[in-house]
Symmetry: C2
C-alpha cells in the first residue's frame, strides 16, 4: 500500500490533535532515519501507524490485546497495549515487514537490543515538534549527534515522570535505559 | 549460635564505620519488627549479617558469587552481589533459616512478594540512624505507620539516585516498587 493511503487510513482513526502529533513523528523520524542510517521509507511507515490505536477505549484495547503478539508484561500496564495492537493492525491492514512492526510494537517501551529503525521511531515520538516537557530540548540537542545518548536521556525522562506520578515503571524500559547508558559510557571511555 | 557470637563474628569482618551502620540497622530492624509483626529474633539476626561481605574487594565477591544461590540478574551489577553472598555465609557459618537468608539476600534490591521479615530488614537498612540523604526523614515518618508506603518511597529514592548517577537500575527493584505503590493505592482507594 502507498504511504499516502496509509496516512489517510490513519487520519480516519485519529483526532485532529493526535494526527498532528503523528505528522510530527513522521517528520522527526525522517530526519533521524537520514541522520543515523535507518531505511527512511520503513521508518516513515512505522511512524504513521505507531499511534493508530492510541485513542481506543480501554475495553477495545483489552479485547484486541488477545488477538495480537503481546510481549511479556505489556498486558499489566494498559497504557502500553496500543503499541503491540498497532503492530498487529499494521501487519493485517498494511502488510508491513516484521522490522516495521517491531518499531511500532516497542515505540513506547523500548527494549533491549533495539534496531536503528526501532530507535529512530521511539526517539522521534519523544521529541517531535509538538512535544513540550522539562528537558526535551536537551534530548533534541543530543539527538543531533548521538542516538544512544538521546534515548538514554529520553527513557530517564520517562522514568522520572512515572516516579513523580507514582505510576508503574515498565522493567523492560529500565533494561533498555541501562543498556543505552552502558553503550554511551563505552563510547566515552 | 547465640546472637552475641554472630555479632562478634560480624564485627571481625567489618570496618568500624560499617559495623556502626550494622548496629543501626539492628536497632531499626528491632523497632520495625515489633511495629509490623515480624519475628524480632530472626529480623535481628538478618540485620547483623546483611552487610558481612559489603567490604570485600570485587575479585573476592565475584569468586564467592559462583558458590552461592544467585538470583537472576544480580551478577550483572557488582554492587548487588554482597546480599546473596552474605545469605550464603549466614547459612554456612550461622545456620540461619531460609526466611532469614532471604531477608539478607534481597536487602539491597527488594523483590516482588516480600515477607514482612524481608521488608523490615530492607527498610531498616535505608533509614537507620546513620543514614542521611534527601527525603530520608519523610521515609522515617512513613515508617511509623505504613511499611509498604515507606518501602515504595525508599525504592523511589534509590531509583532517583541511580538516575542522577546514570548507574544501572535493577529491574527487580522496579517491580518491587511498582508492587508497593499498587498495594499502597489499594489501601487508600
Amino acid at each position: 500500500m502507498e504511504e499516502k493511503e496509509v496516512a489517510e487510513r490513519v487520519r480516519a482513526e485519529l483526532s485532529e490533535a493526535r494526527f498532528a502529533h503523528t505528522q510530527g513523528v513522521v517528520d522527526a523520524t525522517t530526519e533521524l532515519a537520514r541522520r543515523f542510517g535507518a531505511n527512511v521509507q520503513a521508518a516513515r511507515l512505522a511512524a504513521w501507524v505507531h499511534d493508530i490505536a492510541r485513542e481506543w477505549p480501554r475495553e477495545r484495547l483489552l479485547q484486541a490485546a488477545l488477538r495480537v503478539e503481546m510481549p511479556s508484561g505489556f498486558a499489566l500496564i494498559p497504557a502500553l497495549l496500543h503499541g503491540p495492537i498497532a503492530a498487529g493492525l499494521a501487519n493485517e491492514w498494511f502488510g508491513v515487514s516484521d522490522a516495521v512492526a517491531d518499531a511500532i510494537r516497542y515505540h513506547t517501551t523500548g527494549r533491549v537490543g533495539m534496531s536503528v529503525l526501532e530507535k529512530v521511531v521511539c526517539l522521534a515520538d519523544a521529541i517531535e515538534r509538538g512535544r513540550d516537557y522539562p528537558g526535551v530540548n536537551d534530548i533534541r540537542a543530543a539527538a543531533l549527534t548521538d542516538l544512544n545518548l538521546a534515548l538514554a536521556m529520553s527513557f530517564d525522562s520517562t522514568i522520572q515522570y512515572l516516579l513523580l506520578k507514582r505510576e508503574p515503571i515498565f522493567p523492560l524500559t529500565v533494561m533498555a535505559r541501562n543498556e543505552f547508558w552502558e553503550l554511551t559510557r563505552e563510547v566515552r571511555e
